[in-house]
Symmetry: C2
């Protein structure tokens, strides 16, 4: 099965769980006992930090790989550590893929021409080295992108989707309060800017529609804006919607459910902090972080499935 | 001198040259004789590629450090090589700073809240490790950002500008043909979207205006759109404009000059390919790439200074 949309939806259906676990390893999320282990053994504090994050991520992946179909590493937290962070990112992606999970690189890249090409090759394609050999750098299944620069910046990513079965999620309506600042500006046709972006997502998605009926060119629509989500769901019927903002950011399961089609498909809801830091809830100790994350994953799955069924 | 705008303008004035050299090391830009050297000595082709890029960049920096005030490494080309690329990027930034040049990280980052914070800390701030020690990862002087997500994504960068004398350049009107696709959409007030973005650049820039009268919150406006550049120059009087698109992308010196204020200040023009690949012009051999780049830098400086004077 080569089409990204098909692969993702198959995996969601297999697990009956439209959840993606965000891997946003802020240092304060990593349990102390893991940090201490590496502080005593690594060559540098930077290396120790990278190794602690890698272990935390891999154990989280093992905890949920049976019930969550995908992970979404947020590139910023790895870049924050420089080379050791990139090493942790690569190790995390490789580990998740080996565990059978779909990997969505949350990198929000954007540029034009050869530069957009370089980003696409780095994250979802392959790089040509000076001896003309090819190597895959991150080899994620999909990547988030920002399309303020228009099709010039999106086309190189679409090419990878068409040729290599990869996917992209284009920022349409983000989950944060100031999303309204530009995204909701009303155009002369009376519609908001995000509507024009969504229209392009539909157009650009036509060449990668899989057997599932969905396109590998998806969209990002925050769980914090259920009204906009309803409009956008209607407008982008064949796009898979990646839904951030559930849980810690305040989006409810009911609000997230607005992003699903009436067949209960077509979206995947992200949770980062609520899954990664579940061990900070009452009833757990840090050493049990995997159990805590698993329990929260089950709770979230049930809550989401119920909300989608009740739509 | 702590304010970024002041530092950049001082350096431009010192050299009487508002040019920034883009360091976009596509593999095919690196002269063969440098590649061959490392292919025979490095531990892996990936390492060889990274080392070849680093040597090329450092020699380019040495060639122009006496006449060009700043460099702009484009992150995509380094990320394309994974860890070895990040190593080359860090080495390039460090080398340029030691040579006294201003470093503008062209990363076009964008995200919200703690994630935007992580990007800001990684590129222009510092990272807290698991033992609470602080380390600077890239430590560039400034970074390009995309503000489609609104102030939530910009505020963490502005904080670094206010507290650590760093700068940002916000994408307003990019140089590529499809810039018009969203950036030129007309809003209900009859003005294009890029106008609304420029208005925010002005507002957000008020807290970082230096002795020069310019703000550390700058803007990106392509050299390929002189008419828009005139409007935007008028609208963002106190913003330094980073001007891509000159040379290889088709923007003329006259068009680039539209981004300068009547005092001949307030903008910096990027050239990447035309400087990096000057040795491919008639009259040079690859071994003379530094001379070729120097000669092109002189030519560009004169052409730009004349165009600005003729305005």
């Amino acid at each position: 099965m080569k089409n990204f949309a098909d692969r993702l939806l198959f995996k969601i259906e297999e697990m009956n769980n439209p959840t993606v676990m965000g891997l946003d390893p802020l240092i304060e999320y990593v349990p102390d006992f893991i940090c201490k282990k590496y502080l005593n053994s690594a060559n540098s504090v930077q290396e120790a930090t990278g190794l602690a994050i890698t272990e935390f991520n891999c154990r989280l992946i093992d905890a949920v790989k049976g019930i969550i179909p995908a992970v979404k590493p947020q590139f910023a937290y790895y870049e924050l550590l420089g080379i050791e962070g990139i090493r942790a990112l690569k190790a995390t992606i490789d580990y998740a893929k080996k565990a059978g999970m779909i990997v969505i690189a949350d990198a929000k890249r954007n540029d034009i021409g050869p530069t957009a090409c370089a980003y696409a090759k780095s994250i979802i394609g392959s790089t040509e080295l000076i001896d003309k050999s090819l190597v895959s750098i991150f080899d994620a299944d999909a990547v988030t992108i920002n399309c303020y620069l228009g099709i010039d910046g999106v086309a190189p990513f679409i090419k990878e989707c068409e040729n290599s079965g990869k996917g992209i999620f284009i920022l349409v309506r983000t989950s944060n309060p100031s999303a309204i600042e530009f995204q909701d500006l009303i155009l002369e046709n009376g519609k908001p800017l995000y509507h024009a972006v969504a229209q392009k997502v539909v157009e650009w998605g036509r060449t990668t529609i899989g057997e599932s009926g969905y396109s590998s060119i998806g969209a990002v629509v925050g769980a914090t804006w259920p009204q906009q989500a309803c409009e956008l769901r209607e407008q982008m019927k064949r796009s898979i919607i990646l839904v951030p903002g559930y849980g810690a950011q305040g989006g409810s399961a009911k609000a997230a459910a607005a992003n699903f089609n009436s067949d209960g498909k077509g979206a995947i809801v992200n949770a980062s902090r609520s899954l990664m830091c579940a061990y900070k809830n009452t009833g757990y100790v840090p050493e049990q972080f995997e159990n805590a994350t698993y329990d929260e994953a089950v709770r979230m799955k049930n809550e989401l499935c119920n909300a989608i069924a009740d739509k």
